[in-house]
């Protein structure tokens, strides 16, 4: 297959504008893989990876030492930190639509930071074309972060909450 540069550019543009996260095309030995960078997920800039660490209230280790320790692979502390991060389970949006944190404008949100959830707990609604999709947590644990605002447009696969699983 001979793919022209403009075709490739068009392809990248289409994938970029879509909710597709990864695109692979294999044709007559020519292989094109387009993978979106994670940072492209519509997460606000202030949610840089370091921030959650700093936000932790009881961090006895002095902050400046952390990067240095991270450079030494055998140090136990950073690996604990990292494990905690990976333990956080994201609840993601199963479709493109509007995120609603509450069943109606004047009611309390389904869940807040600090709330414990079970598999069947409804955590929010995502609405598209007036289909109201009640999203269940699907895991047990504690909501440690709400990543989107009420009324915000969310993409397919976009993380909505972080859950510290039990």
């Amino acid at each position: 297959m001979s793919m022209k540069m403009h075709e490739l550019r068009e392809l990248i543009r289409l994938v970029d504008e879509s909710s597709i996260e990864e695109f692979e095309l294999d044709n007559d030995g020519t292989k094109v893989v387009i993978k979106k960078a994670l940072s492209e997920a519509p997460v606000a800039p202030e949610q840089q990876p370091e921030q959650p660490v700093q936000e932790r209230p009881a961090a006895p280790a002095p902050a400046p030492s952390a990067p240095r320790e991270a450079a030494e692979p055998r140090e136990p502390e950073p690996s604990v930190e990292q494990e905690e991060e990976t333990d956080l389970h994201p609840i993601v949006s199963p479709m493109v639509g509007t995120f609603y944190s509450a069943p109606s404008p004047d009611s309390d949100p389904y869940v807040d930071k600090g709330d414990t959830v079970e598999e069947k707990t409804v955590v929010c609604i995502v609405e598209a074309m007036k289909l109201m999709n009640e999203i269940e947590a699907e895991v047990r644990g504690e909501i440690v972060k709400v990543l989107v605002e009420n009324g915000q447009l969310v993409e397919y696969g976009q993380p909505l909450f972080l859950v510290k699983t039990d």
Binding site: P94, G97, Y100, S104, M129, L131, M132, N133, L153
Partner: protein, 324 residues
């Protein structure tokens, strides 16, 4: 729910029309005792049927209330599964809530919750849906479509197509769709559809499709604040409509369109929707999460999103309130 014997007794009385049906004959055909017959006659009378009982002649149906109970609906049903299982109560808070409960207990596809009156009818985001007694169609249908969650929003468009086609055919009124699924006559709302889904990331557990139609609602029963935005089939058509016939026709059309959707995908629905839409080619404002967008409504994308032609190009709108 009505008992099967009562339903059959009612259909026997209906068959006989103005003539008397003897107790003996009912007893023979339904294979039940004379005492049981008397019990069911009393129950039917409680529900508003006027049945004359005359010694030696038997029973005769004098008056039939306007009801959407199973015994009134079933004789008209031509569906395979839609409405074949039914929960009916004279008055409920919301058919949508009951259907959710039933679905969680395992209600099969096509299970229907229907009522004469809702005291707490639900619109989107818990808005109130005004549902006065014996004058509308207030029902919720349980679906279990084997489709990915990402495609489920298409169900709202599917339902709006089916109901619009039925109402056009049965009433002759010029019913049009406002994206995605409000049905209008002369710019006023006649039917609302509320679709709620429960599922996992990639799998639909169930969908509750709620349909509210103002059928025989008279102007007196329309609250003042709704006068300018809502209407009814009776107000627009200048006559009343038999709700059981309309419901049976809607369920039949819905079942066919739904099965067609599962077999052939969204494209045929997309074409039917565009035919039934009353807003294509018009300049509209879409209130989206990112602010208002103004442009020409040009059609539906293959996802079901509304295509809006704006100065910055053609945008797909997934989520929005539309102002025409």
């Amino acid at each position: 729910m009505g008992s099967p014997i009562r339903e059959r007794m009612l259909s026997l009385l209906l068959e006989r029309e103005d003539a008397f049906l003897s107790g003996e004959e009912i007893s023979r055909r339904l294979n039940c005792s004379r005492t049981a017959i008397w019990k069911h006659i009393k129950e039917l009378r409680k529900e508003g049927y006027q049945i004359e009982a005359r010694p030696k002649s038997g029973y005769r149906l004098v008056y039939r209330p306007d009801r959407v109970a199973p015994e009134e609906l079933k004789p008209h049903l031509r569906t395979r599964s839609f409405g074949r299982r039914m929960q009916y109560q004279e008055c409920v808070p919301s058919t949508q809530l009951l259907a959710h409960e039933w679905a969680k207990e395992g209600a099969e596809e096509g299970s229907l919750v229907i009522t004469e009156e809702q005291t707490d009818g639900k619109g989107r985001m818990n808005r109130i849906w005004h549902s006065p007694p014996h004058s509308g169609i207030w029902m919720s249908l349980v679906l279990r479509p084997p489709i990915p969650v990402t495609e489920a929003p298409q169900l709202t468009l599917m339902a709006s197509v089916a109901v619009t086609r039925t109402l056009r055919r049965e009433t002759g009124l010029d019913v049009t769709i406002k994206w995605p699924n409000d049905l209008l006559v002369g710019g006023k709302k006649i039917c609302g559809i509320l679709t709620e889904l429960r599922g996992e990331q990639d799998r639909v557990q169930y969908v509750v499709l709620g349909i509210g139609i103002n059928v025989n609602v008279t102007p007196d029963f329309l609250p003042k604040e709704l006068e300018s935005i809502a209407t009814s089939l009776a107000i627009e058509g200048g006559r009343t409509f038999q709700r059981p016939l309309l419901i049976a026709a809607i369920l039949k059309e819905l079942e066919e369109v739904y099965e067609g959707y599962l077999d052939h995908g969204f494209e045929p629905i997309r074409i039917l929707w565009e035919e039934a839409a009353g807003m294509l080619g018009r300049i509209i404002t879409a209130q989206t999460p990112e602010g208002p967008r103004r442009g020409e409504a040009v059609g539906l994308a293959s996802s079901g999103a509304l295509l809006l032609k704006t100065e910055e190009g053609t945008l797909p709108v997934y989520s929005s309130d539309i102002q025409i």
